[in-house]
């Protein structure tokens, strides 16, 4: 079984298409999208429709998706994010909005759990980036591997014992073989707005048989997305963030 895990597309159609084209060569059996399909980016409808058309793909709700139907208040977001949410609300077709509203918060499949932000308070949208929140996430689940997105930073957190963790920031395309039975939190990075100083789109393939996490970074037509952001009238800051990977 080879499972593709990707997240945080944020309306970046160029990045999503490149990622899907790359994944098509990697013998993926199923895929799971961890949410944040829209927000920031210029092509929300196209991205949602593309995800909906995918075969054997399951999708979870992210905070930006929830903000579209006021499942969380856009007024709690930063200026650029808030502006793009209101813009996206106008752009989305009713079917696509309905689709976003029907997305679940969490999936449990065999010994894996999938959430957008964290498992202990899924609609609180805390980032799991340090020991405190990682331990809290381990405590809130019983699964062996927990897959998350939301922070836009690819990362593997290994639970060493009840008090300590090992935090590995993953840079570039890289295979991480699992050699033990320790519990892990795996952040699959972001397709449409990476924030680890590497502007390439990021996604993850989990080979369950070989026990390998395969991270892939994919180049895409950045210029095209930046231009589309500008012509959509979205804040120029969003384009700069894509160029810098922040």
């Amino acid at each position: 079984m080879r499972l593709m895990v990707f997240s945080d597309i944020h309306g970046n159609l160029e990045a999503l298409q490149s990622v899907l084209a790359d994944a098509a060569q990697r013998n993926v059996d199923r895929s799971i999208c961890l949410g944040d399909l829209v927000g920031y980016g210029p092509n929300p409808n196209e991205c949602v429709s593309l995800i909906r058309s995918l075969n054997k793909c399951r999708c979870l709700a992210g905070n930006h998706d929830a903000a579209i139907f006021w499942g969380m208040s856009p007024y709690g977001m930063t200026g650029a994010a808030r502006k793009s949410i209101f813009w996206t609300m106008e752009q989305l077709t009713p079917e696509n909005k309905n689709y976003l509203q029907g997305l679940p918060d969490r999936l449990d499949i065999l010994n894996m759990t999938f959430v957008h932000a964290n498992p202990y308070n899924p609609r609180g949208w805390n980032y799991v980036l340090d020991r405190k929140y990682a331990l809290r996430s381990f405590a809130a689940t019983a699964c062996r591997n927990l897959f998350i997105g939301h922070s836009h930073r690819p990362m593997v957190i290994t639970r060493k014992n009840i008090l300590s963790i090992d935090l590995l920031e993953v840079s570039g395309s890289r295979n991480i073989a699992v050699k033990d039975t320790k519990r892990r939190i795996v952040n699959c990075g972001s397709v449409g707005q990476p924030r680890d100083a590497d502007p390439r789109a990021c996604y993850l393939v989990v080979d369950l048989k070989k026990e390998v996490f395969e991270y892939y970074r994919v180049e895409y037509d950045l210029e095209k997305t930046v231009k589309a952001i500008r012509s959509a009238g979205l804040p120029a800051l969003l384009g700069r963030r894509l160029m810098n990977g922040t």
């Binding site: 059996d29 199923r30 895929s31 075969n55 054997k56 793909c57 999936l107 065999l110 369950l208």
Partner: protein, 584 residues
């Protein structure tokens, strides 16, 4: 009692009834417990006082008889019959004197020797003792009295023994003129005379104060009552929580299924608690079973603009009929729920899920939905015959088998990827047309992971054909994707050999479980299958879900790789390619 709206489920008052009754029982029990404890403490207190006072009275008795029998005669012998020394010869004087001395060291006990007509006015009976004189005099066989007496606001445990005059006493207590002059000189002529032998002389009594101990006992039981009350309410809280989890919530789910109202229609249930409502619902199910046995179901002739022809196959809760559009004669298939089954709201909920899945999922092996008319689906025409018909004539050829399973595995993988578990895969609902194209026509028992599962919530037990069910489903659990993989294993074996991997004569669920645990490789195929094919089938047929393939895709990968070696170990002549549309 009205059924009220509660959250998203309607619930009645089972929880309140449970709470009030448990509270009443626990509080009543606590009260009883503390009363019992008070009664027991008081009983122990009394027993203790009784023993102590008996000791004292016996002692007094011994002193008096010593004076009477030893000391007084000796005095007469030494000093002559005329002399009467009170300090050495009066039983009453000596005994009260000794006891008042010992009372100094044991102030909690008070000893009294009283009389109605004493020499010493200090020994005159008080009104209560006066009454006790009467009580003893009424019946000379009464030799003892004990009880609680209230005096000056305090309670005492009092023991009393009557004392009767003997002949030797009469010298001092008979006629005053016979009495010794020492006695008259000390006490005068007022009291203590005119008795004769056998008269009630006085009462010896010991009083032990018990007010404090009784108060302590009372306080103890109050504390106990408070503690049990607190403990009870904690227990009650836990029990209510447990009851809510185990019973009320699950009942509420079932209830929401049986009590869902169509707009404009009145609910069929409007009284009693959850159990009553379910009782009514299962009554309706019973009447369905009875009418179904009589063959009461009628085949509809028309549904909207469609003409219904003969049935093709039966699903879990619905028929698939052939049919056509009345005007254009275009052929269609119709999915129509079993009329009477749908009277049971639980199965009706299952049908709704099924129809929703047909509408939502799209796959080459699922007939496309043309229209939904009420609770009936109009599907594109399903051609061909069911797999069970084909297998009646013998095993599928290798080529066809692999083609069928490539489609079936992809279909099931699509279900699982969408969070759907079919739960009821069997050859009767798999239709194959002349080209080997597969169509699944029923999902009556399927579940979706984000939706409530009516069958599980109702605890209906195993649903489906026991032959194809995984052990965990037979045990009454609701299966996961790996249960579908078990059914695929049975189908795979069946398709390759034309026989089931176990004989069909087993009847009870327990027998099936035992049988499914025992199947061994090569049991029935007897070498007609290749080693690697059998390996795949038996891995899918593992009794424990953890030992099976965990993913349909993994199973298909191994099965698909067999094409070179073949199912039966022979090479395949014209290896037809199959469409593997897996992957994203």
């Amino acid at each position: 009692m009205r059924i009220k709206q509660y959250g998203q489920w309607k619930t009645a008052n089972l929880k309140q009834r449970f709470f009030y009754w448990s509270a009443a029982i626990l509080v009543g029990g606590g009260l009883l417990l503390s009363l019992l404890s008070f009664w027991n403490t008081r009983r122990l207190l009394m027993a203790d006082a009784m023993t102590k006072s008996e000791v004292i009275l016996r002692e007094v008795e011994a002193i008096r008889s010593y004076v009477k029998e030893e000391l007084r005669p000796k005095m007469y012998e030494l000093h002559g019959r005329d002399k009467f020394i009170i300090e050495a010869m009066s039983t009453t004087y000596i005994s009260t004197n000794i006891m008042s001395r010992s009372a100094e060291s044991m102030p909690q006990y008070s000893y009294r020797r009283v009389s109605l007509n004493p020499h010493n006015p200090g020994n005159l009976a008080d009104p209560f003792e006066d009454e006790m004189f009467n009580w003893f005099e009424e019946d000379p066989t009464r030799m003892f009295w004990q009880g609680i007496v209230k005096k000056n606001g305090a309670s005492f445990f009092v023991s009393m023994v009557p004392d009767y005059f003997e002949v030797s006493c009469i010298r001092c207590h008979g006629k005053a003129e016979d009495a010794p002059k020492e006695l008259i000189a000390r006490y005068g002529l007022d009291g203590g005379f005119r008795f004769k032998a056998g008269d009630l002389a006085g009462i010896n009594s010991v009083a032990i104060p018990v007010s404090d101990s009784l108060r302590e006992a009372w306080q103890g039981s109050l504390v106990l009552f408070a503690l049990t009350l607190g403990g009870s309410f904690f227990l009650l809280w836990l029990l209510t929580l447990l009851f809510q989890r185990l019973v009320v919530e699950r009942l509420a789910v079932m209830l929401s299924l049986v009590n869902h109202r169509e707009p404009g229609k009145k609910s069929m249930f409007n009284g009693g608690d959850e159990i009553d409502v379910l009782h009514d619902s299962f009554g309706a199910l019973g009447s369905y079973v009875r009418s179904a046995r009589k063959g009461a179901s009628l085949q509809p002739n028309f549904i909207g603009p469609y003409v219904v022809e003969s049935p093709i196959a039966a699903g879990a809760i619905s028929w698939i009929y052939q049919g056509h559009v009345a005007k254009t004669k275009e052929k269609v298939s119709l999915k129509i729920g079993f009329d009477d089954v749908l009277q049971n709201p639980l199965y009706h909920a299952c049908l709704k899920t099924e129809l929703g899945l047909f509408e939502k999922l799209s796959h080459p092996c699922l007939p496309e939905v043309k229209e939904r008319v009420g609770d009936d689906l109009i599907l594109e025409e399903v051609r061909g015959r069911s797999l069970i018909h084909l297998l009646d004539k013998g095993p599928l050829g290798e080529q066809l088998l692999l083609y069928v399973f490539s489609q079936l595995c992809d279909l099931v993988a699509s279900f699982h990827a969408a969070g759907v578990v079919h739960h009821d895969l069997r050859p009767h609902i798999l239709m194959l047309d002349e080209q080997g194209k597969l169509n699944l026509i029923d999902m009556g028992l399927a579940t979706v992971d984000q939706q409530q599962d009516p069958i599980m919530a109702a605890g209906l037990g195993p649903q489906g054909d026991l032959l194809y069910l995984a052990p965990e489903q037979i045990r009454g659990e609701r299966g996961d994707p790996r249960s579908d993989i078990y059914a695929l294993g049975v189908l795979l074996y069946f398709s390759a050999t034309g026989q089931l991997p176990f004989s069909e004569e087993r009847k009870t669920e327990q027998q099936w479980l035992r049988h499914k645990k025992l199947i061994k490789k090569g049991d029935i195929s007897r070498g007609s299958l290749s080693e690697s094919f059998e390996q795949i089938a038996y891995r899918a047929l593992s009794y424990e879900a953890e030992k099976r393939y965990q993913w349909v895709e993994d199973m298909w990968k191994e099965l698909g790789a067999l094409q070179v070696n073949g199912v039966c170990g022979r090479t395949i002549e014209n290896n037809r390619g199959h469409s593997d549309d897996g992957g994203t």
